[in-house]
């Protein structure tokens, strides 16, 4: 992979080199062998089955698309209510509702191929072997550019949480790496004491990039009914309120491993995206904002040139991980 481990603190990621000496802005980057035209993509679970955003903008302009997690078996999802709004955020317990891998590949994938943007499928296994089998199955299909491994969804009954135990996380990556040549993005959970050992483990296991963060586990309570608001009890928190947490974790991961980091968490605007680039993200995903601003991804993308210009930057390499420590820190 390009942009291999370069040691803590080095500007990781694999931004395009940029046109030598030219004035044009180059927003491209590579993840493993995959070249992405720009760093703005959609976050898993917020982009539907593919065509829902077509009325709002040309999805071919996206840097990449990540779609909702696929599991081996169909999953009906959790009982309602599945959503509750919280200040600056959204708590969800969708429960990985999906038709199962076979139905997904037969019915949804053909539509996704028409989107015109690099396509990243997101998979979640219920065991290491299931992860491997799922990756092997999905990789047989044409038109898939990379896999994101959801190692962290808080919305399924506890089994192994691949994102809290470094040894298991390493094993998942190692086995999936052996099953496919597709670029692999390991999506990390913020619900850990220290994210760095997990990031290091997935890097050792063969990940080409790390995406962070998934939702933060949270609880909303209806005290009158003495019940949680959500049908399943706890849920995953997303939206603008999680951005500071996400920025910190992206910075930690970026410093810990030499892989491109894909920043996720509360991104609504190009300014938010710039903050993530400085923290060390080589690309970003827009999640919850897609719901209330259907054109959010495009607005972020269109806002980047002006902001790169403000920093005198011509490529991602000029901004990624360039956050400076405060004097005396």
């Amino acid at each position: 992979m390009s942009g291999g481990p370069t040691g803590p603190g080095a500007p990781a990621g694999a931004p395009g080199a940029g046109p030598a000496g030219g004035g044009a802005l180059d927003l491209s980057l590579t993840v493993g062998a995959l070249r992405l035209p720009n760093p703005v993509g959609t976050a898993s679970g917020t982009f539907g089955k593919g065509l829902e955003f077509q009325p709002f903008y040309d999805t071919a302009r996206l840097g990449f698309v990540v779609v909702k997690t696929i599991t081996t078996e169909p999953r009906a999802g959790n009982p309602p209510p599945r959503l509750v709004e919280t200040p600056g955020g959204l708590l969800n317990s969708i429960g990985l509702a999906n038709p199962g891998v076979e139905a997904y590949l037969a019915e949804v994938l053909p539509r996704l191929r028409t989107l015109g943007a690099p396509l990243v499928l997101n998979i979640a296994g219920h065991s290491v072997a299931d992860f491997e089998a799922l990756a092997r199955r999905v990789a047989r299909e044409a038109g898939i550019d990379a896999l994101e491994l959801n190692m962290s969804c808080p919305n399924v009954a506890r089994g192994l949480d691949y994102s809290t135990d470094p040894a298991t996380a390493r094993e998942v990556l190692r086995r999936v790496r052996g099953a496919t040549d597709l670029p692999l993005i390991a999506k990390l959970s913020p619900n850990v004491t220290d994210i760095r050992p997990i990031a290091e483990a997935v890097a050792e296991g063969g990940a080409d990039a790390v995406s962070a963060i998934n939702t933060l586990v949270g609880l909303a309570i209806d005290w009158r009914r003495r019940r949680p608001v959500l049908g399943r009890g706890v849920g995953g928190l997303s939206g603008p309120c999680i951005k500071p947490v996400a920025l910190r974790l992206v910075r930690q991961v970026h410093r810990a491993v030499g892989l491109p980091v894909i920043g996720i968490g509360g991104i609504e605007t190009a300014d938010d995206a710039m903050e993530f680039f400085l923290a060390g993200a080589s690309a970003i995903q827009v999640g919850t904002a897609n719901y209330y601003r259907p054109r959010a991804c495009l607005e972020v993308l269109e806002g980047l040139p002006e902001r790169f210009a403000a920093l005198g930057a011509r490529s991602l390499a000029d901004v990624v991980g360039t956050l400076e420590d405060p004097p005396g820190a």
Partner: protein, 282 residues
Amino acid sequence: MAAAPALEPPVCMEGQILENRVIAPVTRVMKVHAPEAAARMHAGQFVNLLTSAERVPLLRRPMSIHRLVRHHEVASGFYVLYDVVGPGTRNLARMKPGEKVDFVGPLGNAITVPPAARRAVLVAGGVGVGPIKAVAEDLLARGVRDVTVCYGARDYDHSIPVKEAAPDGCRVLVCTDDGSVARKGRVTDLVEDLLRGGRLAPGDYVFACGPHAMFRALRDQLRPFGIAAEAATEEFMGCGFGVCFGCPLRQRQPDGSVAYRLCCVDGCIFPLDTLVFDGDPA
């Protein structure tokens, strides 16, 4: 079953607010000028309104299309009718004519009226009166002459004037839970009278919008008569256009199994007798 109208994709745009007036102590109607969107709208669909540029609250608020505005047969805008119940609707209530409101729409499906229907009964519980006027106007335009609106509200504060609930040319029956306006009773009591009087029978078109408890009572009431109805449902929504999977309700499938369907894109209108509510036998 009649073919449902072919639906066009939604737009995300700003419309200009032309009116935002009080029609009952807690209820307002907002008129929005937005020709590009209105040209795509059908009775029974909804819009998803951004109530705050500052993102407080964060999510949009779904509202039924209360009425379509037409000038010389050309659609130019729409109305929404809303109860002020929380932060989002409080924001809506503060908006002024001349200002812009950002919305996504039209969303959801439209009513499906059997071509043979000659008579219609529209059942509204509380703020479920939202879509009734658009539906009634659509029915009248299709030549369904005999349209009765049954409207049940909680109390005086929550009941809107008859002329706001339904267009001219409809019969309107009203009740309130506490009897503070019109007769005391439940909206299903009004429906019961129609059934007993032979003014509601199989083949009539029935449309209902209200809380789950009303849907259950109405379904149980219509079932022995073999009368079908369409229910415009409301679930909490994250997106309104089928991408978050946050708005499920349970529907009985043709094979007898029960599956989740999405209120926003599979509905919000469903055949009433296919819906499975809390407390129904699994």
